[in-house]
Amino acid sequence: MRFGIVVFPGSNCDADVAHVVGTVLGQDWRYVWHGDRDLAGLDCVVLPGGFAYGDYLRAGAIARFSPVMDAVAAYGARGGPVLGICNGFQILVEAGLLPGALLRNGSLTFRSTWTDLIVEDNNTPFTRLYRPGQHVRMPIAHGEGRYVLAEQNSVRPVFRYRDNPNGSMEDIAGIANMAGNVVGLMPHPERCAEAALGGVDGRTLFESIVRSVVLT
């Protein structure tokens, strides 16, 4: 299968995602420049972590206006699998592809550490190989990861923190849209896909999407 990895000015986990899908999983991939609108031939689109546009104003607030985002919205609306990791999650939320908002951490500081998570929902193409309720470990590295949602809206949590590091509502670490094909999470699965890096729980997420695409 072929992954598309969107590169915004200021993305900094683009190469890390490419390493996992390409070198670790042996899949095909290409970068998609934020100014392009062409997602043809892609089986999955990933918005990687980083500081798109420096996260100036607010994380993801400027990146949502990049030309590629119209194409990503259309791709997601057609049911194409879209994954937003960390800054990518923030951009998906700012762009309205996922509900809610990501605010400054409760601690008011950037936090870079391993976190323990619970898989809440394995009925998405990105989580199908996890067991429901499975405990997994992934690193986080963010300053604006406190998930909030207005009361009248509903959300589909996919991952929850076991030891909430940022003050997120209901310990939410990652969510999906109602259809399940658009998933965003603050932890970094691409940083724990090889044993040498201290854990392989993130690899399952990428294997899940590969399995999903191959099966469809």
Partner: protein, 741 residues
């Protein structure tokens, strides 16, 4: 007869003698712009006036050194056609005036030095010194600096993987903020900062030029801090990490272009366009001509003087072959970066600056580049002999070694630094195999190979204060021991020499002796110094910081799987002590914490023994027989054992050598050239064999297991309790809470 020197002189920190020298060499009085340029280039910060003759003492070559000192960074070969660039630099005075921006732009500057060489930045380390955290001013500096490093490093996507933090009252008001950056590149991409090709274009890329940072190099970085310097906040620059990230990608991209039209690359740091242009010309043996009217500006009304001396951040100067300008500028356009041709390379060796037609500077490049140097005569500070002569035997014996251990673990110099490193992204780029807190050095894999590099930064400045020569030697020995302890072979050193005012004979003595000690240690251990920086005038109100020669080391592992962490891993493992460096409490943190004494004679350092220990550690790493390895440093054997136990979450039972009358000597003496290791019983004979072959003492001292750290006859403490004290020591201090250990 020369006229009276202009009032500008004080702002520039040039002496009247130096002004006279400029007039003599030039054969006329300099223009205002020329004087500003001389002032910057001849500042201590850019010109190394006091340190250059001493820096020649360092060994700088080895078969694996591809670029020694003199460029933006040193470069070493790591095999497989790859090279690593490394450099360390200070941002002390900007951080004292404005800690957040001072530290942030320090990171930005050192990272630019790395990608200027053509290397992709893969790691940052920070070596920080502050006054004690019981002062709110010091807490403000500490939090501001950490936040500045965090916000800049995280944004550009370069992991901060290690460093060193310590506190002492000599840093009150004058913190030490040193940043080290490391990058990797194929040999073919090594790029140098020199101009060539008559008619080549000088293209300025990145941030528009503003009035920030004017006189940063001369007025701020090259003299003592005083109360009045508080009003120098405008000499501190403001960083834009997003722009830096774009510059990294654009510059590495343009160097990868097949056309190879980039002839040279230079970042703009201290003294801005002046220093970049002069260095490009002087290194290349050519001239340059710059029209300041072509420089994109942030504000109107800037003079030629402002433009030439601005230290606006995130700017690069490229030398591009004539005819390829449009191609290069189109590349930068893609990244949304402003670029402009601001001048040309000329054949007459002169630096010419004009504003459309008005000439502001016309000076041979070498005159600007060759700052005068000073060889001074040092005088040994009286405190060295006085403090070394203190009879430690006359001190009261330690009544409670457990309490002493707890006090040391809670001390901010030793306590867990998670409060700091949890604010740094240390896992981005997915190369960090051992990160902060995992081992004595960070270990990063080199993707596409089996190799890894080990990185550490360190300096016990207290030793340098007590005995500068030996302190300098220990700094090198210890940082190399750090990288050896994770299983790497030390390859090279980068340094940042932080000292007081060298015009004072006692400070000059410290500078010279530290350098001599470092140089001798480098020779004995076979590691060259490939890059570095000097920061002098670190004084406030006549009080100099401890001599602080911060050192960073890189080590190489041909197989990343050989790495060793510091945590005890298995119950029933044997604990062994490698090395038999002299156990003497002189200079120890224990004396300072428990006896209120900074003094005594330092333990001996046997450089041959140190080299043998490094060889042994490399051999055992390759044999993969150790489960943990942790060097003995501040806090001595007691703290080393406690740290391995805490990190592993398991206890240990240890017997000290019998005969020692004072338990605290065996526990807390900071004897050199030693490491605490753990391994399976089955591998003990193999370890003994290797130790015998390398002629390193190897003594079985205990066994891993249980939930207490027990040193027979001295310590019996629950690991859980020690962990709590160690984990929270820095946090308590940083919150202004007194230690409860």
């Amino acid at each position: 007869m020369i006229g009276s020197p202009p009032p500008l002189l004080d702002l520039l920190a040039l002496s009247t003698d130096e002004y006279a020298l400029i007039v003599e060499r030039l054969g006329r009085e300099p223009t205002e712009v020329e004087l500003g340029m001389f002032g910057s280039m001849w500042s201590e910060h850019c010109g190394y006036k006091n340190s250059r003759p001493l820096l020649k003492l360092f060994p700088t070559s080895a078969p694996w050194v591809l670029q020694g000192p003199g460029e933006n960074a040193g470069v070493v070969d790591i095999g497989d056609g790859l090279a690593v660039a490394l450099k360390m630099e200070s941002h002390n005075h900007p951080s004292a005036v404005e800690p957040f921006q001072g530290a942030a732009t320090g990171v930005g500057g050192i990272v630019r030095d790395i990608f200027t060489m053509g290397a992709r930045p893969i790691a940052i380390l920070d070596a920080l010194r502050f006054g004690p955290l019981d002062s709110s001013r010091n807490r403000h500096l500490f939090h501001g600096v950490v936040h500045g490093i965090s916000s800049y490093g995280n944004c550009i996507g370069v992991p901060t993987v290690g460093g060193d933090i310590a506190f002492a009252s000599c840093y009150n008001g004058n913190p030490v903020v040193n940043a080290m950056a490391v990058g990797v590149m194929p040999h073919a991409r090594i790029t140098r900062a020199r101009a060539s090709g008559i008619g080549s274009a000088l293209i300025l890329v990145g941030s528009d030029t503003g009035r920030d940072g004017i006189h940063g190099a001369s007025g701020l970085a090259s003299r003592e801090l005083s109360e009045e310097r508080e009003d120098q906040r405008p000499t501190v620059q403001v960083g834009n990490p997003f722009l830096e990230k774009l510059l990294i990608e654009a510059c590495l991209g343009v160097l990868d272009e097949r056309a190879a039209y980039v002839v040279g690359l230079q970042d703009l740091g201290a003294a801005g366009i002046t220093s970049a242009a002069v260095e490009l010309a002087a290194r290349g043996g050519v001239g340059v001509e710059i029209d300041v009217s072509l420089v994109p500006r942030r504000e109107s009304g800037m003079t030629a003087y402002d433009v030439m001396l601005s230290e606006s951040q995130e700017r690069m100067l490229l030398v591009v072959r004539a005819g390829a300008e449009a191609q290069a500028m189109a590349f930068f356009q893609k990244w949304g970066l402003t670029s402009a041709v601001i001048g040309r390379v000329t054949d007459d060796g002169r630096v010419r600056v004009h504003d459309v037609v008005q000439v502001h500077c016309d000076v041979p490049a070498h005159l600007l580049a060759d700052a005068p140097t000073y060889r001074r005569t040092g005088v040994r500070p009286p405190h060295c002999d006085r403090l070394a002569a203190i009879d430690l035997g006359a001190l009261p014996a330690e009544s409670d070694c457990g309490a002493a251990l707890r006090a040391l673990l809670a001390h901010p110099n030793i306590a867990c630094k998670r409060l700091v490193y949890s604010q740094y992204d240390h896992s981005v780029q997915t190369n960090t195999l051992l990160g902060p807190g995992d081992g004595d050095a960070a270990v990063l894999r080199i993707k596409g190979t089996d190799r890894a590099i080990a990185l550490a930064a360190d300096c016990v400045a207290r030793y340098c204060y007590l005995e500068p020569y030996q302190g300098g030697a220990i700094a090198i020995a210890e940082v190399c021991r750090n990288v050896a302890s994770v299983g790497a072979r030390p390859l090279a050193i980068t340094d940042c020499l932080n000292f007081g005012n060298p015009e004072r004979p006692e400070i000059y003595y410290q500078l010279e002796q530290c350098i001599r000690g470092m140089a001798d240690a480098c020779r004995a251990l076979g590691v060259p110094v490939v890059s570095g920086n000097v920061s002098l005038y670190n004084e406030t109100a006549g009080q100099a910081v401890y001599p602080t020669p911060m050192v960073g080391a890189i080590g190489l592992m041909t197989d990343a799987e050989n790495r060793m962490g510091a945590a005890f891993r298995e119950d029933r493992d044997i604990i062994a002590l490698l090395g038999d460096g002299e156990e003497c409490l002189g200079g120890s943190l224990y004396l300072e914490v428990r006896q209120g004494l900074t003094g005594g004679r330092l333990p001996a350092l046997d450089l041959e023994a140190e080299a043998r220990l490094h060889r042994l550690l490399h051999a055992v790493a390759q044999a993969r027989i150790l489960h943990s390895c942790h060097d003995v440093s501040e806090g001595g054997l007691g703290v080393a054992l406690a740290e391995s136990a805490i990190l592993g979450g398991r206890g240990a039972r240890v017997q000290l050598q019998s005969g020692a009358e004072r338990r605290e000597v065996g526990l807390f003496a900071e004897g050199q050239s030693r490491a605490v290791v753990s391994l399976a019983e089955d591998d003990w004979e193999a370890l003994r064999g290797l130790a015998a072959r390398e002629d390193v003492a190897c003594r079985r001292i205990g066994v891993v297991g249980g939930d207490r750290l027990i040193v027979e006859g001295a310590i019996d403490e629950a690991i859980e309790h020690l962990t709590e004290i160690w984990r929270n020591g820095l946090g308590r201090a940083a919150a202004g809470i007194e230690s409860v250990a």
